[in-house]
Amino acid sequence: MATFLGLYRSNRTLVGVLLPIALLLAMVIVFTLLNERFLSWINLFNLMRQSSILLLVATGTTFVLLMGAIDLSIGAIVTLVAITSALMLRDAGLSAPVVVLIGMAIGAACGIVNGVLVVYARVPSFIATLSTMIVFGGISTWVAGGANVTFRNAEMTWLASGKMIWQFPNSGVWALVIFGIAAFIGARSTFGRSLYAIGAGATAALLSGIHVARTQMVAFVVSGTMCGLAGVLLVARAGAGTARMGDDLLLDAIAAVVMGGTALSGGSGGVHRTLVGVLVISVLKTGLNVAGVHPYAQICITGLVVIIAVTLTLDRSRLAFVK
């Protein structure tokens, strides 16, 4: 046991990468044993569909976390875009592609608000996004008028559940493609490098000529836009906009990013790692469903597993203090 712990401590990064993958495999095995239908194609497609929303949101938020900030309003942005999209489809009769664009624009606008508060008003990102979370939430409920907004639009349904490539659900395809692009940008672009630099050493980055303000602004806008896209896909899949439908994404997204290996304080990890974290959470949720676990118990278990997983993968050498 002692040697195991010793090995664990001295190979932190390797463990950080392998652990979530190991966790993922373990869960897949357990769930398949509980119900062999877990490994069926139908379930896998279901998994893709379920996780696509989270993947988009978590990917966007990785950019923000990398630079050492946090965006608590991501769930609220998803809800806001979902509801406004539903309204546009039902009342304004707009076509699906237009709705997608407007949805992303709304998300981007939310991101701009966040960015302005953090970069120009110098409000700590925690408080700024906590406030915008409340404000966006208020706008959502106001706009929805207190009722669910249902609509019928074949294009939208195709957007989420159609099958362009073999049997894979479209939402999964979109999410993976965008994830791939984002991961590439995160790892290889100057923008991505700037994020790491700002997260790992803001003063040194500034003095070296990195455009800190501009990069921070872009990160928030990207996060917001991804949430906007997620909101559109969410409502496409659900066929209706309901109050608070995106709010749960906050914890899941942050947990996914942290589990993937991006430090909460920023500067290390990466967008590419977020996929594993998203899979862990999605597999957990779908698995519990397939295994027939009571919905209430599911919520409990999810919360606990998240805490455990984060505990194991968090890179504490980067935290001067756990706040």
Partner: protein, 311 residues
């Protein structure tokens, strides 16, 4: 310099006065005795939870599970009222205490940021709440328990206000006159130094979360009495409103500055604002938006400005 520092300290008071003036001007009902009692009623419940939150925030941490704790405690109280009567309130406090201690232990021993711990426990508790309440609400049929918060043993002072005052005074004493209070301030100000000079940081952290949990629990028990029922989301508003109250009162979200005494001002601002917006029939959704802005304003206005170029 001195002027701005004093202005900062007086700001919440000025805001209170301004709010009172504006709302009364729009609708004189605002200043009626009945309405004032209403404000105090709402303030009391918020104050109980905010006092606990203050200690955690002063220490530099955060407790995002406080809403869930209050809801859970309220649900448990509602369930045990038939058997325990008034004792259900104690049960509520106990539930809150247990969760608070769990929060503290997870925070200290797993060494994960308090944001994640409390988001996680908060979410888990939701599952427990749903299970206990069967997805709905738990009505209370014990008239005595329901009347408890409204009972006026002291004329014109409903019991809930008395509870709040007692908790408030207790917390002030705790903050100013005990080692615990001083240590939360020390940890929030400079955790490294505090640890170096021998403060048992871990123990203090656990205690702070235990206190926050217990007071959240008390809040839940009182809420259940006030509403006459325990619903699955009755404590939700607490998470945001306690943070708002604490920040508006003048305690920095980063910790080390402020304290319980000032939280009262923040609570009054929030309560007066909510009540006022209701009185002037402001759309409920707009009310939420306004509350969001209030936090922002408070942080921007009360912030120590960073130094720019000297000339």
């Amino acid at each position: 310099m001195n002027l701005t520092a004093n202005l900062r300290r007086l700001a919440p008071v000025l805001v209170l006065v301004a709010l009172a003036a504006v709302f009364t001007a729009i609708n004189p009902v605002y200043a009626s005795a009945d309405n004032l009692r209403n404000i105090l009623f709402v303030s009391s419940i918020l104050l109980v939870a905010s006092c606990g939150a203050t200690f955690v925030i002063v220490m530099g941490s955060i407790d995002l599970s406080i809403g869930a704790i209050a809801t859970l405690a309220g649900v448990v109280a509602a369930l045990v009222v038939p058997t325990l009567g008034y004792g259900a309130l104690a049960a509520a406090v106990l539930v809150g205490l247990i969760v608070g201690v769990a929060n503290g232990l997870l925070y200290v021993y797993l060494r994960i940021p308090s944001i994640l711990v409390t988001l996680g426990t908060g979410t888990s508790l939701t599952g427990v709440i749903l299970y206990l309440s069967d997805g709905g609400s738990v009505p209370i049929r014990d008239a005595a328990y329901i009347a408890m918060t409204r009972a006026e043993y002291i004329p014109y002072l409903p019991l809930v206000i008395v509870f709040a005052i007692v908790v408030y005074v207790f917390c002030i004493v705790l903050a100013d006159r005990t080692r615990f209070g001083r240590m939360t301030l020390a940890i929030g100000g400079d955790e490294h130094t505090a640890k170096l000079v021998g403060v048992s940081v871990d123990f203090v952290k656990i205690q702070a979360f235990a206190l926050s949990g217990a007071l959240g629990g008390l809040c839940g028990g009182l809420l259940a009495s006030r509403l006459g029922t325990a619903t699955g989301n009755m404590g939700e508003f607490l998470m945001l409103e306690t943070i708002t109250a604490v920040v508006v009162g003048g305690t920095a979200i980063t910790g080390g500055v402020g304290g319980v005494a000032r939280t009262l001002l923040g609570v009054l601002v929030v309560a007066m604002l909510s009540n006022g917006m209701n009185i002037i029939s402001l759309h409920p959704y707009i009310q939420t938006i306004v509350k969001g802005f209030v936090i922002l304003l408070a942080v921007i206005a009360l912030r120590r400005s960073p130094s720019g170029s000297q000339s």
